[in-house]
Symmetry: D2
């Protein structure tokens, strides 16, 4: 089958596969790992064949993720061999070491960590504090935001079918909300200056026991953190093609959800009509991005792979506000990974991701 | 088709129906209404053909339930005629007045309110403060808890197929958690005395603007309410065949979830082994009830139709503790209604209800 | 006693007054009203002699504010005559109508609403939608932020002692957090451009029953509101002497607390040392403002009249971040009112405000 | 001065002491330690002269308790010598080892842990898993609940003045709420059987980093714990003189507050009038206990040393419900300790504890 045919095949997904795709998860004990299990266990085209967690040997998944006890899955210390794809949910720097061997076995990778998100290898020591062990893979990796890089996903699908496993660097949670909110303006070169002020639920901080993340510390309080130094800054600057981004994240007392408020000084005056047109053009056909005309709440997308984007021009000040909201564990992590996986394996982009948000 | 055949048909669900079942929702603007839309819009055997809300005329569902905006459904003031089933999410006393006409049109009813839950008509003036306008229907209605009344659901399915529309009185949220926790003991006549102390998230109080339900009033506080007078008491006494139940509900600062802690003085000493056997026998084949051996949290079932039940004997005191947890809007309301609907329409009991719980 | 003497008297507070100051509260049933009662009932120099609420006639305060039941105070529909000062906690536009008569009776006013905060009468129709009925009073009113206007408070104290009652327009909650964070830079003319992105607990929205403020709507969600139109913008522009401020408030799931993150493009490069010096100079002697060197959380000031301010220069981008946090009901409302009241009545500025924050 | 005189002196507190009482806190870094600092730093009769925490050497208190930064206190690894009283906030088993030496130095002890609460030494191995190293001190210790043991506190005050330092075992949080709710009935011998179902905020679990206490684990969920085995059971049985108490605690998503719902089968029928009289007689003169006639919320006492008690008879079932609510860190821990301290040092019982609750 020629590449062109494959691209067509990818574009026209085959919902009823002869055999399910065999998928493993490395690092299944954290919050992103649990969310991957939740999504993939119910995915119509997937068979979950290996969940790994450090020092686990046959532990029922319900011991670690009580809400998933009914899946009757178990955790092992080692990955089984014959998998088609692996999702990695590992600390930064760890995935980069394991990926070459997995690729060599023909296994496609969806890395939920940052190790394959950045194109410039020098960003790793600068923002993450480690030298990337395999900078040669950075050019090959696809930044797993289909809304901006769908063609690359489809090309990776074609290559995969031709024998080259895919490598996806799944975006960070803050960049997903921010880039979706700003991309139409950024691509049109309309951003003179932007301040990104983001608010996140605490599940993004992971499941490790830290005193500062205790309920009693987080509840009824809000604080900024990572002042001028949050690692996701590099990723946003890369995807928006901006320098010196002013990004400030906050922790707020909720579990899930990110809201990125982007305060823009445009390069020229913009009308609301122009903004509406720009955003409609960008997202009208996107299955997971909805442009809304009232300020969106993170509660509108809870538990789903949906993103909502809002944009407003202020006649009084000449400024523009763009807001993006997502569930940080779904569109900001596991769901986004599944979306990219679907494309790379020629499935419907929405397979396993059709759940509506949960409210109230 | 003979009744016997139909019962078989109901027991052996047909997942791929020729035509979807046409379903309406009356009272679609509240929390239970929203949850019914969420579940039924994704139900594989259902076409949602009518959502009604007072004074609504073509309003997009997203105006009322922003999280459901992507469904592109709309709300109307009147129900369309040609529906097979209607879910009613109405204030108590209202459904009882509308049901006869709907039944007369051959429409099956799943009433999410209390109007068809109680068998003894005198319980309505006593606990709800209204005379039931159609006591003759109470004997015909099925108490919509399949775990205790599955045979009646299947009989109703047969009758429906033979031309008699079904009438389901879907259980209250507290009774669902409590009855599931206690039924094995109650049916075995082992309860000498029981105190039911329940804790609920505030979504059970509905969506009407009440000052006492403001975030600032509910947050960081817990209180009991409905002392000795909660209406659900009647329903629990009926289903457990108990008199003088001591039931106390509390509001706690969360949105969804009910935990019912049932403190039992048994009629005779009970061992843990005996309890385990009793509960395993009751629930081993139930798709939505899991007996667990650690105290369950409501967070383990959030957003799902699952219930978890826990039971423990205390050698020191001779007492028994049984705990039930559910999501009050799913297994305690909309999901339970869909489960009964599935049975009555001969579908797989779990159709549209397969979502795993959402955590963290 | 001459004015000069009085000014001295005001500067040297007399902690043990011969007779307590008789104080009334108009609008005592809301959240700010409750907070005023909490503070003033324990104030060493005050006798609370009149709490009024619409349609109240002798109702125990505990009926409205259960947490204050032990004060044994009651609510009346009308203010008693012989009071020295009145705190007004009323909807905007209402206080402006009542104030002239109160002043005419020699009663000093601390208005917790916006009616006497703005100097330019045209700001009222523009931002609040009403024509100010007494623009002649705007010049006389003192903007009740002692950290910026202490001299005016002391002058008002002198005038009051000489027979002219004081009129305080107590600042809004967002302006308090924002102005304290930005004032040192603004007064030095160092702000080229600033984006103020603020996060508030929901108690600021008041106690009126609104569906959008129900617990189930607010919990586990964050949203922006008042996009480009929040009324407090006018007040911030006035106090900071800025035009076209880009201000965006958010509601987050907590009851109390405001965090204002101020993203500044300075007029010239600023070092951290210069910022530290500037802020130390501004606040070193302030009893209620602490400059901190780690990002402050609203939880650090909960229940207290304290504010915390944080400022950082970013060498990478040349930008400056300033953050202010307060408890919106104390330093952002009732406590701030009491602080101004103390000054105007020649008391120690911290009288009745010495409680430490409550954590966790 | 004779003992009799001293008792009189203790009963007639001297609000203006010549010299403040010198107080130390051992274990000042946890939540109870922080709360002790908050209360004692503002206590009119106390000078805080020593705060200790493991491995601390001059650390500003604000490093550990940011909300207390303005106190300008510091933490040390060792207690200073010349203190009059020490509050111990230590893990169980630790205080018992340190107390004898402190007593030998004439230092009075308020132990916030369980080591001196139980009278029967065999309860320690049974409920806490350690042999008490100094059972001879158990008879001397006063159970620090003044509402039940005020005479013993006053006797201890007399003894202290005569040279024998006091030893207070400050009650646990659950026992405080439960015993206050039940004591009038228990003392009158009217309890045939009682189920205590309690709900607590998570601050009671302390400040140690535990994954199960992370915000994302606790939020939007409720669970029971310590089933049939919670250590506070022994203390409740002791103070209520009951055997085989059925006690079940729950963790709910809030930081502070305990509500104990006590479901009572009385020994004989009880009227509401009789209950009202019984409770009024017990608590009418208590400064910190209010009997209320609507179900109390924990939010009504937040941040204060107040307790609220509610009692109701159910004519339908013949049962009685008693509810107690407290702030677990104040009346359930630090505040209660200060209350006992006040009595033992002859101060007004309410000194330093007059703050009204904080709401909303």
């Amino acid at each position: 089958m020629a590449t062109a045919d494959l691209a067509t095949a990818a574009a026209a997904p085959s919902p009823t596969l002869a055999a399910p795709i065999r998928v493993g998860i490395v690092g299944a004990t954290g919050y992103v790992g649990g969310e991957l299990i939740r999504l993939l266990a119910a995915h119509p085209g997937v068979e979950l064949v290996g969940l790994t967690g450090r020092d686990r040997r046959g532990d029922p998944v319900g011991d670690v993720h009580p809400h998933l006890a009914t899946t009757d899955l178990a955790l092992e210390s080692e990955l089984v061999d014959d998998v088609d794809a692996v999702f990695l949910a590992l600390p930064h720097g760890t995935a980069a070491q394991r990926v070459p061997e997995l690729l060599a076995h023909g296994i496609s990778i969806i890395d939920q960590g940052p190790d394959f998100r950045l194109r410039d290898a020098s960003d790793y020591p600068r923002w993450y504090g480690f030298e990337h062990p395999h900078p040669e893979l950075l050019g090959r990796a696809v930044y797993g935001l289909p809304e901006l890089h769908r063609a690359e996903h489809i090309a990776a699908a074609a290559a995969r079918a031709a024998g080259t496993p895919a490598l996806i660097g799944s975006p960070g949670c803050y960049p997903t909300a921010t880039v979706l909110a700003l991309a139409p303006l950024a691509r049109a070169g309309l951003i003179e200056d932007v301040v990104v002020d983001a608010k996140s639920g605490v599940s993004g901080a992971g499941r490790e026991a830290k005193a500062e993340m205790l309920y009693a510390e987080v509840n009824e309080s809000v604080r900024a953190y990572g002042v001028f130094s949050h690692r996701h800054t590099a990723e946003m600057e890369q995807e928006l093609d901006l320098d010196g981004l002013d990004f400030l994240p906050h922790l707020i007392p909720m579990t899930r959800g990110i809201l990125a408020a982007c305060h823009i000084r445009p390069t020229r005056p913009l009308s609301q009509a122009e903004l509406d047109e720009l955003y409609a053009a960008a997202y009208a056909d996107e299955p997971f991005v909805t442009v809304v005309d009232a300020p969106p709440a993170t509660g509108h997308v809870l538990g789903s792979n949906h993103a909502r984007v809002f944009v407003r021009a202020d006649a009084r000040t000449g400024r523009v506000l763009a807001i993006g909201v997502i569930d940080n564990l779904v569109k900001g992590a596991a769901g986004q990974g599944v979306q990219a996986f679907n494309l790379v394996f020629g499935l419907d982009e929405t397979a396993g991701l059709s759940a509506l948000p949960l409210a109230p």
